[in-house]
Structures are given as structure tokens and as C-alpha cells.
Symmetry: C2
Subunit: 188 residues, 2 copies
């Protein structure tokens, strides 16, 4: 697998359960793109009846130019942190899209191209807190796709980290980058 450089519209879904911080992850990714990489970004949550079931989904669209339509049409990348999220959105992915799943939470994947990463376990191991799984997921996503620069996502994570948790969140992000590097190497 080779990384890609995006000059055009790039659509990302981050999906999981309430409490996994996927909405915050979406905000951080959009801020990385817009504030630190100088691109345009839209970040949307659409809530419907499913919000009451505890599902949580953020969408981010990043582009060099103007963004006409703020929602994902067909995703370039999906991060699925629950089986429900993978079942629901796993098929709405471009042919060469990235499907990244937390392998301890998602047993069934719709494609052999799915990239299985123990995201929540890496969060626990790197930062001591499973709650940083959303930041590990951002590290894996950015490490594999280059949709924003690593420097930009580092700054965006740091700016949104609650006081006193900066080091923990940095460690989680690095763990995500390292996992992405290992996956990229394996594929060369």
C-alpha cells in the first residue's frame, strides 16, 4: 500500500459508539486541515433516530478548493470503531478507499482489503487510557492516507487536548503513526 497525496475532495467517515470520541476526532481532523494545513474543511454530524441507540458518526470533507456539499457522498476512508458502524458504512466506500477497523471490536469486515488495527488496545498501551482510542485512530488514518500532514494533526490534537493530557494524547497519536508505518511496510 502506498500513501496518497490529495489535491482534491477527500471524504472521511469516523464511526463508532457514543463515548468513543468520534465527533471530537472529526473536529480535530477538520481543524488540522483548515487551521494548520491551510485547506478547506467541513465537519458534519447527522443525527437521526439512530443517535438514541448510542451510535456516533462524524463526517469530514477536506479539499483544496471550495466545498459545495458538506456531507460524505462516497467515502475515501472509513474508520469503524464498532461492528455496527462497520456494517452500516463499510459498503459506502470508494473502490480504492481505506477501511480501517478496530480489530478487537469489529469481527466481520466486508472486504479483504480492510485494515485491522487494535486501536483501543494501542490507546491503552501507549497512553494508559483507552479513551485516547480516537486519537490513535487519527494517527492511523493520517499515517496511512496523508489526508493532512502529521505536523498539522499533532498541532490540532495538542490544541484540543484538555490541560494536563497533552503528553498522553501525543503518545496515542505517535502509536497510531507507528501502526500506520508498520502496515505500510508490510505491504511494500
Amino acid at each position: 500500500m502506498t500513501t496518497k497525496t490529495h489535491t482534491d475532495r477527500y471524504e472521511i467517515r469516523l464511526a463508532g459508539e457514543g463515548g468513543q470520541g468520534m465527533i471530537l476526532a472529526g473536529i480535530i481532523l477538520a481543524e488540522a486541515a483548515a487551521i494548520y494545513d491551510g485547506k478547506n474543511a467541513c465537519q458534519t454530524q447527522v443525527y437521526g433516530p439512530e443517535a438514541r441507540g448510542g451510535a456516533s458518526k462524524a463526517e469530514v470533507v477536506i479539499a483544496q478548493g471550495e466545498i459545495d456539499h458538506p456531507e460524505v457522498i462516497t467515502a475515501d476512508a472509513l474508520v469503524a470503531m464498532s461492528q455496527e458502524a462497520c456494517d452500516k458504512y463499510g459498503s459506502n466506500l470508494k473502490k480504492d478507499g481505506f477501511l480501517i477497523v478496530d480489530e478487537e471490536k469489529v469481527g466481520r469486515v466486508p472486504s479483504s482489503r480492510a485494515i485491522k488495527v487494535p486501536i483501543t488496545r494501542l490507546a491503552q498501551e501507549s497512553s494508559g487510557k483507552a479513551i485516547t482510542a480516537n486519537v490513535v485512530a487519527l494517527g492511523v488514518l493520517v499515517g496511512l492516507t496523508d489526508v493532512v500532514s502529521r505536523a498539522a494533526i499533532e498541532k490540532a490534537v495538542s490544541a484540543r487536548a484538555p490541560k494536563g493530557t497533552e503528553a498522553m494524547n501525543k503518545a496515542a497519536l505517535e502509536a497510531g503513526f507507528t501502526a500506520a508505518d508498520l502496515i505500510s511496510k508490510k505491504d511494500e
Copy 2:
């Protein structure tokens, strides 16, 4: 001024400076509508070059039915927490729309119908922390517009409050409700 009950699409902009928590306020409002009031809601941030200047804006669309277009077209309500936000979005408001401004931050308003509330001061007085201004703003907005129920916004604020800050955020929300009640009375 009488409060309104909305059965149809209702569009809200929350705008201010980075760090005032307007994006989080948008998420809380959307969650109040979708999770606790059983409506549909979309919450969007659109970032462009202005994000680098420190401006921050969240848009929330709430409806009983499906939401086709997730962004605000012409706002039913604007909360402006900075002069820049008021200047930029103050004119994009429906005729009977609500323009709510933090009166200590916004000196010039585009309409005599603007509702001036010392939002940040109320935050400081009620909770001891100016950082709860976003929650006071939600209290004022919901108290005046009834776009979601008071019970729903209470639950949504509580669910998003960091551990240990629940009481502080509840106090801020109550201060917003009280301000709205005073304003409504004055107009009767």
C-alpha cells in the same frame, strides 16, 4: 416577545472566537434535539481561511422530518459572541429571527430587535468560570426559542460536561434560562 414551537426546519448559527466553545455548544444543541427530544438534527462546521483568524462558527439544523440540506440557509436564530461574528452573520437572519449577542463583546448590532445579554458576565457570576459562557448562551437561546425542550438541553449539557463540572454547567444553564425569562417578561 412570545416563544415559538417549531414543528418544521429551524436553523441556528452559533458564532464567536476560537476558545469560546461555540462548536461544543452546537454539538450539545444537536444532541439535545436528536437524543433527548427525538427530532432530527445536523451539526456542521465549515472551515475556510477565516479559521486561521480565530473565528469559530457552528451551524445546527433541527427538524421533525428529514433534513435535506445540513447547512444554514437563512438563520432563524444567531448567537453572536464577538463583534466579528455579529458583523459577518447578523444580516443573514429571517425577518422574525432571533439575534442574541453578548452585550459586553458586541457593541454594534444591525437591528433594534437584537437581544443583548451579558452572557460571559452571567457565566462568571453563576458558575465562577467565564468558560461556561457557551452554556449560558444555550440557556438563553433555548429559553427564548423553545427550539428544544429545557429538559433536553439540561440532559445534553450534563452528558457533555467533563467530570466534576456538572454543577457548574447546570448553574450556567439555569442563568441562561433566567435571563430568557426576564427578557420574555419585559416584552409582554
